[in-house]
């Protein structure tokens, strides 16, 4: 089996007008591990992920999945499951119907919808309209949507956003379980402390640039991730 890189950014740049949202990002994500994609709000995390998933067009450079552009994947939902901060649901439909729509588009059996709703513990609310869902329920529904195709790779943009401590704890153990099944996970967060105990590797962004990358322990160097981040950013100035 040839070892391709599950996720790779190659000199990725995305401009909006004159400003660089992402500038010359080059990084690899290792297979079977959880990689944290960290950085403050506006660092360029979501933009990078949107380029990776074919939703935004890179100004230059590339972002590849198993060596291919997302649009070239034969069966994208089976390869990659994704949550984006801008991913939404039709509030007038139930969580289940929202997922049935996606399942149909991915050629996924309807029975899988019940399975993923069960995985994220939303079975009880499956038939309720999503406009009545709490933020935490929405995040879990998004996660269920990402898992529909039983994908090898998960790309999760701020899945912890808006979760209470119990929700965060649940998310951490859930991600760990998914990684233990052999999946590759790239998870972003602007709260550096939120995920630092959950991830194996980190990519740290600031103002559109990658400022640190590697195993979490190496990047932290004995400090908390937040302290390490401030030290790195100060040193760059």
């Amino acid at each position: 089996m040839s070892e391709t890189t599950p996720i790779e950014f190659i000199n990725l740049t995305k401009d909006f007008g004159k400003s660089h949202a992402v500038h010359a990002l080059s990084a690899k994500v290792a297979r079977g591990r959880i990689t944290g994609f960290f950085g403050p709000n506006g660092a360029g995390k979501s933009t990078s992920l949107r380029c990776l998933l074919g939703l935004a067009k890179a100004t230059s450079g590339q972002a590849l999945i198993d060596g291919k552009a997302y649009a070239e994947l034969v069966d994208p939902l089976h390869k990659v499951g994704a949550i984006l901060d801008s991913r939404g649901f039709n509030g007038s439909l139930s969580g289940k119907k929202n997922l049935l729509i996606v399942a149909a588009a991915g050629g996924i059996a309807d029975s899988r919808v019940d399975e993923v709703l069960d995985l994220v513990e939303l079975t009880g609310a499956a038939n309720h309209k999503t406009k009545g869902y709490s933020l935490g329920m929405m995040q879990r529904l998004s996660l269920a949507g990402a898992l529909l195709g039983d994908p090898e790779i998960l790309v999760l943009d701020e899945p912890g956003n808006g979760l209470d401590p119990i929700g965060i704890a649940w998310l951490r153990s859930f991600l760990r379980k998914l990684a233990d099944e052999g999946r590759t996970i790239l998870v972003s967060s602007h709260q550096l402390a939120e995920m630092q105990h959950t991830v194996d590797d980190v990519l740290v962004m600031n103002q559109g640039e990658l400022v640190a990358a590697g195993k979490i322990a190496d990047v932290q160097g004995g400090l908390s991730l937040e302290e390490a981040f401030l030290k790195i950013v100060m040193a760059k100035k």
Binding site: R50, L55, Y70, L77, R87, K97, I101, G145
Partner: protein, 262 residues
């Protein structure tokens, strides 16, 4: 196939679909029965022979049963604007990153749904016209051809305007401006053009749809009739309307469909 199934679910799951269909039925009914009343009421103002005793005028009332097409256009537009309103566009284009496949599926499903809605609303319009005309014992019987002509026009209109709706939704993305724009254009701009510049108006969708019903109203007779004598024959009108759909669809496929999805 996968995308088509998904698009059908997107149309039929929300209850709004039922309301839009009822809207089309209501609009078709309101365009026919009250027309019989108005023609009768203003008969004195019209030229002699252009009242309800004229079978061509009665045909004109029945042919108005096609008027529900506005809702079909809106159904088409909502197919795309809904994705951006609810932010489901992300999930849709993650499942199918080749975006033109999504648009083809939406156009096909909208066309099928558009035909169905037009058949239902046009039939409703016929019934309303019949009931409205029944109030007047001197009303002439319609020519039997008007039913076939109008239903044929309804099928073409349903398919083509649904496709145009999808294209407009893709071009505008934002739901309220797209829907309001469609209503204002179809109900105000085109009607004004048709009244004040009939030679140009006959090339616009509303004029073409009237052409397709194969109406033969030779002079401007009453407040509710228009002069269709200079209109296109049905076949060129069909091709002209399809040409509109092709232009709008190509425009959307090559421009806004490629823009970033937020």
């Amino acid at each position: 196939m996968k995308l088509i199934k998904s698009e059908f679910r997107k149309v039929f799951y929300p209850k709004s679909f039922i309301w839009l269909t009822i809207g089309a039925m209501g609009l078709a009914s309101l365009s026919t029965a009250p027309a019989a009343y108005a023609i009768k009421r203003f008969a004195k103002l019209a030229l002699p022979g252009h009242g309800l005793e004229n079978a061509d005028v009665v045909d004109g009332i029945y042919s108005k049963s096609i008027s529900g097409y506005l809702f079909v256009m809106i159904i088409g537009a909502l197919a795309m604007t809904g994705e951006f309103k609810h932010n489901t566009a992300v999930a849709t284009f993650l499942a199918s990153p080749k975006r033109h496949h999504v648009m083809w599926a939406k156009m096909l499903v909208a066309a099928v749904v558009g035909i169905a809605v037009m058949l239902i609303s046009t039939a409703t319009g016929f019934i309303a016209a019949y009931l409205g005309l029944q109030q007047y014992s001197d009303a002439a019987a319609p020519h039997s051809s008007v039913f076939i002509d109008t239903l044929g026009a309804a099928v073409v209109t349903g398919a083509v305007l649904a496709v145009i709706g999808v294209a407009i939704g893709t071009l505008i993305r934002s739901q309220t401006p797209a829907v309001v724009g469609i209503v204002i254009y179809m109900y105000l701009v085109e009607r004004l053009i048709i009244v004040f510049w009939p030679d140009g108006g006959k090339w616009l969708p509303t004029g073409l749809i009237t052409s397709m019903t194969n109406l033969k109203v030779s002079t401007s007779a009453g407040p509710m009739t228009i002069d269709t004598s200079a209109y296109l024959e049905p076949t060129p009108a069909i091709f002209m309307l399809i040409a509109y759909a092709v232009v709008f669809a190509l425009l959307a496929l090559t421009t806004t469909l490629r823009r970033d999805i937020d």
